[in-house]
Symmetry: C2
Subunit: 430 residues, 2 copies
């Protein structure tokens, strides 16, 4: 883990080039898969699942029997923990519910905004080595709260054709309508365009590998997507009062995700930097996922030494981290200076895993600096708005002149005609 100055960091950052045009090879594969799925539907899904997941499936949808089987395989403590988390997540997201509204702006003038849930939503849950029941909760609960009619999951099957039981139990608890055994770009294509078995959805959410991410980018516009997730990151802003052991533990919890994960500590204290490095080394040695952690810390871990607090906060806002921990004496006071962050953890007892699993806010967060313009996943991701306009004849006549002036300025005379036809209608003048 290296220590760098603010200046070094900012120089580096400015020269980082977004990955935009480096994914041509993946794109070729992904576009071919999308085309095949659009063309051949389920048949393509079975073929790709055989090719990529090495499983021959009899059917795509998980059966009730499989759900019952999964239920027997999970521990009571897991089920209990899941339910506590579920309740916290639901409670937090209820604060995000939006209502339709109407105003009577003037006599004869009613304006408003109608809120409608999306009709169908697809959630992608990664499979492979790990299972992520927490992602099931985080993606499904806000959709359900929004009032989405149909929520389905796609997730790649394990080599024996089954789905991880923890994922299935979480899906059942969260009230998912169907779980389909299909992963990769083919799952995204199916959710975007529909097949015989899998419904075309209005929005696709959930994390995935590079193929899933590029497929989401390609179908974007035909359907909505949550975001294109990049590597995950944590940034800890620490003053002298922070515990180096806590900082190290939290950096390591981020680093274990994968080799690309970024763990960054920003501080003005040289001795804090040294202590954190020493703690990282000691704690990492004892952790199961040491190999991943070592690589991640080696390649992407850093401690940025700022000359003062203002500079430190500027660095944080420039990074726009997915997770930001404020390990400071008065974290609530510092909050006002934070412009860009997905989730902000205040003080010594809000470690990132509290937010990943349990506290209630969503763990699907904007990564790779996109917190500068994007938000955590929320109920607002599963609704859309329609504007409402109603005028009386009298109100429209009063507005006629400015409307016609503006329409004619833009050369849109048929727009002006739509007003004129109503002005000229002597029958209506009664």
């Amino acid at each position: 883990m290296k220590v760098i100055t603010t200046k070094e960091f900012l120089n580096n950052f400015a020269n980082q080039s977004p990955s935009e045009d480096t994914d041509r090879k993946i794109d070729q594969i992904v576009l071919e898969i999308i085309q095949q799925v659009r063309h051949s539907g389920d048949k393509a899904l079975y073929e790709y699942t055989e090719k990529f997941d090495e499983v021959q499936l009899d059917q795509l949808a998980v059966t009730e029997e499989e759900f019952r089987e999964a239920d027997k395989q999970v521990s009571d403590s897991f089920r209990q923990a899941l339910r506590e988390a579920q309740q916290n997540i639901a409670e937090f997201h209820q604060n995000q519910m939006e209502k339709s509204w109407f105003v009577n702006k003037a006599p004869g003038v009613m304006l408003g905004q109608k809120v409608t849930p999306l009709e169908k939503v697809g959630v992608y849950i990664p499979g492979g080595k790990a299972a992520y029941p927490s992602s099931v909760l985080m993606n499904v609960i806000p959709a359900r709260l929004a009032g989405v009619e149909t929520v389905v999951i796609t997730t790649p099957p394990q080599p024996d054709g089954s789905i991880n039981p923890h994922v299935l139990v979480a899906a059942k608890e969260a009230g998912v309508d169907k779980v389909y055994k299909v992963g990769g770009a083919q799952a995204v294509a199916a959710l975007a365009y529909g097949t015989e078995t899998i419904p075309k959805t209005a929005k696709i959410v959930g994390p995935g590998n590079a193929f899933v991410a590029r497929a989401k980018k390609w179908v974007y516009g035909d359907v909505a997507i949550d975001m294109i997730a990049g590597p995950s990151e944590i940034c800890i802003l620490a003053d002298d009062t922070a515990s180096p052991a806590y900082i190290a533990a939290d950096l390591l919890s981020q680093a274990e995700h994968d080799e690309d994960a970024r763990a960054i500590c920003v501080t003005t204290s040289k001795s804090m930097a040294d202590q954190v490095i020493s703690e990282v080394r000691q704690q990492a040695a004892k952790l199961e996922r040491k190999e991943i952690i070592d690589q991640s810390i080696e390649q992407h871990g850093s401690i940025i030494l700022a000359t003062n607090k203002e500079e430190a906060i500027h660095v944080v806002n420039t990074i726009a981290p997915e997770h930001l921990e404020l390990m400071m004496e008065n974290p609530q006071e510092e909050l006002q200076y934070i412009k860009n962050a997905g989730a902000i953890f205040l003080g010594a007892y809000a470690p990132e895993p509290l937010g990943d699993y349990f506290a209630g806010p969503n763990h699907t967060l904007p990564t790779s600096g996109t917190a500068a313009f994007a938000s955590p996943l929320g109920v607002y991701d599963f609704i859309k708005k329609s504007s409402i306009i109603q005028y009386s004849r009298e109100a429209l006549m009063q507005a006629a002149s400015p409307i016609q002036t503006l329409a004619e300025t833009e050369g849109l005379t048929a727009h002006s005609n739509a007003i004129q036809v109503r002005k000229d209608d002597s029958d209506a003048k009664a």
Copy 2:
């Protein structure tokens, strides 16, 4: 203008294939432009402006002198109409303002959501044949209300190097910081990555041609974008009480936009269908933009004859129109059945141009069926949210067991360690 049945419409609709992989040629040009702008900055902008707009510019930014000059060139009636529209737009969008919130969920537990405006926003305003001061207002006002610090416009210069004075006056009135004389994909690239003159922005909004739309799709992810706009459409749902003359006028106002615009009337009344067709023919003959209108109506205009109201409403929700007019006896009652529409105009005196220019709701709306998942442009497009989590030591200790259970289920043991380190810290237990 042809009359088709619901069944014919739905069959047609199901076979419509999204354009996703037909834009390769445009993509090649657009990707080359993006790369050049990222590499050469302003120099590339001057070169592309010379190549595409056939103007050699001395500087990119519109000067104060040019703003003053524009001010002299617009009429008082235009300025007056613009200000009335501006006030209505601001008043409507004020209803969309969102506040940060916090809850004390339990002793020692504080959760919340912080709302922060985007820092810099770029608005693309088309140039060429037409000028769109109304688009300036519709894009800039919600950004300003949201609290965006810097709002800049890019718009292609006219052959003499100037910008349409109505656009400049609207920009000044709406409080834009800078207007740059650059259009096309090069403008999008500049706003996405920054050049010596043009700031890198967090989000790019505003309409544009196919090159602008594809460029927005390509930079999406590195910056936010509003949407990828397709052809514009109107759908009028009319019962027996509607005026065929009004319907025709409103269909034509949509048709004059361009040859790809879609004007659709859905009705259960055969005689209404016949009368609308006759009115369209009569009114179109007298309109200035007759040529565009004829092409648009010929290619994309249709009247869908439904067998009953439920079927008619199903058609509307399937189209998910950008603009929907409910020309019905009790339009407010029908509103409950409308799931997908960008803006909904109720009754005989809410013609689309009222919404395009004046009433207050935004005229940047989801096109081409994207109203199934997207919303009108609004204040919510110019803010982002951060989750807030704060726990006391005691509250974290109570939550420790479920967090560790879930982390270990997912195999993320360093996550569990971040809790354990705090549990084991005997100093803190005091």
